[in-house]
């Protein structure tokens, strides 16, 4: 099989060669995916080509396949279900039809009436929910088929927040591209901008200075910590345990304010840019972050004890929304969804980047795959992030924070960063003028949304909000 195999060093630093593969390479890749030897990382379309990124978890290598295609390409989803929604999106956005695909319905395109999957059986009824929900959350439609209270099937319908980010990227200058990347999914703006910067730096073979990489990691861990704390509170609040939300929100707010003091933006937006960071970390910034971290470190154990000691809360989370490890592995689920169901993959450890290779941290993993496991994963990752931030802030190297990257082309690169939800994948191709020719951003939610459908099966309808919150998939990042 002639895929361009990239070791971690190649992935992070080397520009990509653009070799076309043959149909037989494509089908042998499908067979490898089907057999579970490879994990699907991304699948996207281009003008007259379909591309697929594959991950070999054992060898810790990434492969890239480019298949020339004018109107159609052989379906991957026929052999490997996780590719189905990606292919449907390719068909919607690029008009490239996956030949032999089991599901030919549109995915991101909302032009025509959407036929939901037929359901047959006695005393089944359907509950349509969304796309507009009662809370302040993003839009998505959920079609439940239930027997009494028990969910027999959940079918998701997404794409309501398709903003055309990839189309906006095409022809934009690199700086504009970085801004757009940061606006793909608001809660993961640091992860997206880092992945985008990595792709640009790899393509141009111009790495960011060590101090910039350290500052990026500080931002990324702050983002992870803040989001995990918010999630822990929100999950408990969905079980009507408002106390946890109140306490976690206070800690999260402290972190956001410290981020604002240190970087000028509560979510750390637009700090990471290709070539480095736009803003250096001052001693005052470090002090503000340390103060917020001290508050979190002091309060977190008590909140964990509260979570663990409240029987009525445990009764809701333990055993609810169980995801089987086999499915998590097949879909290559990243983040807490995968790691709570036995798939111990974390980009920071498996394909390290930035300063992570030199830092010591644990990657927690569990096998139960229920809501409780996902809460615990977040707790343990938050604790790991506290340790990482301590190491990062103590060991900040000196030097410049900008490498003076000059966009030139043509060039291609890949970025892979562990966001709080999971691995964010970015593929960037620059044209001869140094402008963006094609950029693809793949949110981890692409491989988590389908698993939510599986996890809710057999649970009761009233437990769906709890399961959904414990997955906390991105609508915006998925719909692009």
């Amino acid at each position: 099989m002639d895929l361009t195999p990239l070791s971690n060093a190649d992935l992070r630093t080397a520009p990509l060669r653009r070799d076309h593969c043959t149909l037989s390479d494509w089908s042998s890749a499908c067979a490898a995916l089907d057999a579970g030897r490879l994990t699907l990382l991304a699948l996207w379309g281009e003008a007259a080509a379909v591309r697929m990124a594959l991950l070999d978890e054992g060898a810790r290598r990434i492969g890239l396949l480019t298949l020339p295609a004018e109107t159609a390409f052989p379906s991957v989803g026929r052999h490997h279900p996780p590719a189905q929604r990606l292919e449907r999106a390719v068909a919607d956005l690029w008009g490239l039809v996956p030949a032999g695909a089991p599901d030919a319905r549109p995915w991101l395109g909302h032009g025509a009436p959407y036929p939901f999957l037929p359901v047959e059986g006695d005393s089944l009824h359907q509950v349509p929910v969304g796309p507009v929900h009662a809370g302040i959350i993003e839009p998505g439609h959920f079609r439940f088929t239930a027997q009494g209270e028990t969910v027999v099937r959940l079918e998701e319908r997404l794409g309501y927040v398709h903003k055309g980010i990839e189309a906006l990227m095409t022809g934009a200058v690199l700086a504009r591209g970085a801004e757009l990347a940061g606006r793909t999914s608001g809660d993961s703006c640091v992860a997206y901008q880092w992945a985008f910067a990595q792709a640009a730096e790899a393509g141009l073979a111009c790495p960011a200075p060590p101090r910039a990489e350290h500052i990026r990691a500080v931002l990324a861990e702050l983002e992870r910590l803040a989001n995990h704390l918010g999630d822990i509170g929100a999950i408990c609040n969905d079980a009507a345990f408002a106390m946890m939300l109140a306490q976690c929100s206070i800690l999260r707010e402290g972190l956001l304010r410290a981020t604002a003091t240190a970087f000028g933006h509560r979510m750390g937006k637009d700090v990471i840019a290709p070539g480095g960071v736009s803003r250096d970390l001052t001693p005052e910034g470090v002090a503000a972050i340390r103060a917020a971290l001290t508050a979190v470190a002091a309060r977190l154990p008590r909140l964990v004890a509260l979570y663990d000691g409240t029987a009525s809360l445990q009764d809701r989370t333990v055993g609810t929304g169980r995801l089987s490890p086999a499915l998590a592995r097949q879909f290559g689920a990243g983040g807490f969804v995968g790691r709570a169901a036995g798939r111990s993959f974390d980009t920071r450890r498996s394909l390290p980047y930035g300063p992570y290779a030199e830092l010591s941290f644990v990657v927690p993993a569990r096998d139960e795959g229920d809501v409780n496991a996902r809460v615990w994963l977040r707790i343990e990752e938050a604790q790991a992030s506290l340790g990482l931030l301590d190491q990062l802030l103590s060991g900040l190297p000196g030097g410049p924070v900008q490498s003076g990257l000059v966009p030139s082309g043509p060039a291609e690169g890949i970025g892979l960063v562990e966001g709080f939800r999971g691995d964010v994948f970015v593929h960037l191709a620059l044209g001869p003028d140094g402008r963006i020719a094609r950029c693809h951003l793949r949110d981890p939610s692409w491989f988590q949304w389908p698993l939510l459908e599986a996890a809710i099966e057999g649970n009761i309808i009233a437990d769906f909000p709890l399961c959904n919150k414990s997955f906390n998939c991105s609508y915006s990042g998925h719909d692009l």
């Binding site: 009824h125 009662a134 408990c236 079980a239 009507a240 009525s312």
Partner: protein
């Protein structure tokens, strides 16, 4: 003269329960907010919301029938009458001959029936979901409430509330195990009746988890105002009922003067505040239970009511 005064006190009480009910709801929300380190909305906010709703246009779904439009008034009227029957600060009021616990259970049952019908009437999935859950809970909650009534009636010799209150306040009642059981059972039933945590979450925005809120999702304007007011009245009724049956001290009797009535009213306010605070604390301390656990929860109330009745029977009959 006596009749006029008695009618006046009855009228004052009927007006007072309506005036105070949203304040009590606001008070519980305020205490909950303070417990979760929030400032919270003003205590009068529920009143403002109701007045705002009354001024707004009522939107009715195309598929709704007259049932949907009539239900809010039935619910409000039934709940108001039930709330007005419970002796709050004065016993033996003009209408107290009809203030029978069984009548109150029946009135609340009527309100619940109307609400469930309205929930199903519009034909949305959530209305049906809420109605089916409400009825699932009611099948256990209503017999439990009746058993509690029997316990109290056996202990006091009447199911009339003023008589029960007088008997409970009397010196010969003393501490009884069956009364303790009835108190616990009544508290559990009241939590379920009012859709409070752990049975239902009145503050949730998650349609799929709702019980009471799911049935009223389609309501707006004055219809919603009626239902909100009725829900507040029900909470006030429950706390007043627990107060009047189990803590009947300091209630004014028919012959008492104005000062005695005012003191009794103040004491009633204190009882409500205490009950509201206890509710807020318990709601902060526990999570909501799974839908299918609620019948178990109410089953405890049913068993306690049954045990209370049996204990009284046995101690009496043998």
């Amino acid at each position: 003269m006596g009749l006029i005064l008695s009618l006046l006190v009855q009228g004052v009480q009927m007006a007072l329960v309506v005036a105070l009910a949203p304040v009590l709801t606001g008070f519980v929300r305020k205490v909950k907010a303070r417990l979760t380190r929030r400032q919270g909305a003003p205590v009068l906010q529920p009143w403002r919301d109701i007045l705002k709703l009354l001024r707004k246009e009522a939107i009715v779904a195309d598929s709704a029938s007259w049932v949907f439009r009539a239900a809010p008034y039935v619910i409000f009227a039934a709940t108001w009458v039930a709330a007005a029957l419970v002796p709050t600060f004065a016993t033996n009021l003009q209408f107290s001959w009809s203030a029978d616990l069984i009548a109150i259970v029946a009135l609340l049952g009527l309100a619940r029936f109307a609400l469930a019908l309205a929930g199903m009437d519009v034909g949305t999935a959530f209305g049906g979901l809420g109605a089916s859950r409400e009825m699932l809970f009611a099948t256990v909650a209503e017999p439990a409430m009746l058993l509690i009534t029997f316990t109290l009636a056996l202990a006091a010799g009447s199911s009339q509330l003023s008589t029960i209150a007088a008997a409970m306040a009397g010196p010969e009642m003393g501490l009884r195990v069956s009364l303790g059981m009835a108190l616990v059972a009544l508290t559990l039933v009241a939590l379920a009746e009012n859709g409070r945590i752990p049975v239902d979450n009145p503050a949730t925005h998650l349609e799929l988890t709702m019980v009471h809120e799911a049935m009223v999702l389609e309501y707006s304007g004055r219809h919603l105002a009626m239902i909100e007011l009725a829900a507040s009245l029900k909470l006030l009724l429950s706390l007043s009922l627990i107060g009047c049956v189990f803590f009947p001290w300091g209630m004014a009797a028919p012959g008492d003067g104005v000062t005695a009535h005012l003191t009794a009213a103040g004491l009633w306010g204190a009882k409500l505040a205490l009950g509201g605070t206890a509710l807020a604390i318990s709601e902060t301390a526990v999570a909501k239970m799974r839908v299918f656990r609620v019948p178990d929860f109410l089953g405890v109330a049913l068993m306690l009511g049954l045990l209370g009745t049996l204990l009284l029977f046995v101690s009496r009959g043998l």
